[in-house]
Symmetry: C2
């Protein structure tokens, strides 16, 4: 229940220097675009927000997410799957319920990617 995620906003090997550091090549752009595309939907953005506002280590049960939207349960499940495939969240089933959380550091790395003109520095 938690494979097939991207490793774009990669832990250490942070994919690339940053949006403003140097022009992205096609592969980098394609991988990164998947992440932004996942965030490019109002429903998914609210989901992320609901999950992320639980803080580090925080979780949200699907049963809390579902009633927050005027959408069918399969649609909710679909959006959660996309966020997971984008490498933004992960989940675990515990008994009857499934809990989702934000993968640690992802948002910070994404933010760093957007900011980062810190090209000059300890690269050596």
């Amino acid at each position: 229940m938690s494979k097939q995620e991207l490793e774009v906003i990669g832990q250490d090997t942070a994919c690339c220097a940053g949006l403003s550091a140097a022009p992205l090549n096609e592969d980098q752009a394609a991988e990164l675009a998947k992440v932004f595309k996942a965030l490019g939907d109002p429903v998914r953005l609210r989901m992320m927000s609901m999950i992320a506002s639980r803080g580090e280590g925080g979780e949200v049960c699907v049963c809390e997410l579902t009633p927050a939207f005027k959408l069918s349960q399969p649609t909710i499940s679909h959006h959660l799957k996309l966020l997971r495939q984008a490498g933004l969240i992960d989940c675990e089933r515990r008994g009857t319920w499934v809990y989702y959380w934000v993968l640690p550091g992802v948002l910070d790395r994404l933010a760093a990617f957007l900011t980062a003109p810190q090209t000059a520095g300890a690269t050596a």
Copy 2:
């Protein structure tokens, strides 16, 4: 040639506290999602990268952008329009050529939105 942009990642009134601060409401999510959706395409992401890597105040001529992609000229123009409508870039015609640049601060505000659990602070 430079109206109809969003004001989502708004200058001062920064739209909202941040993704992780509190769950977004529908309107906030809808506005923000447009920005992420604009970045959610490999072509547009590379465009942004090419423009942003020119640095603050830097510009890129469309005539430089176009040959960098294996796409028709109308398609390039279309993507640039979307980025502009998302409030990420702006442009100006100077003589024969049109130059695009990243709107100052947008990327930083977007990054801050993604990071920001710094809810407490000088809001007054």
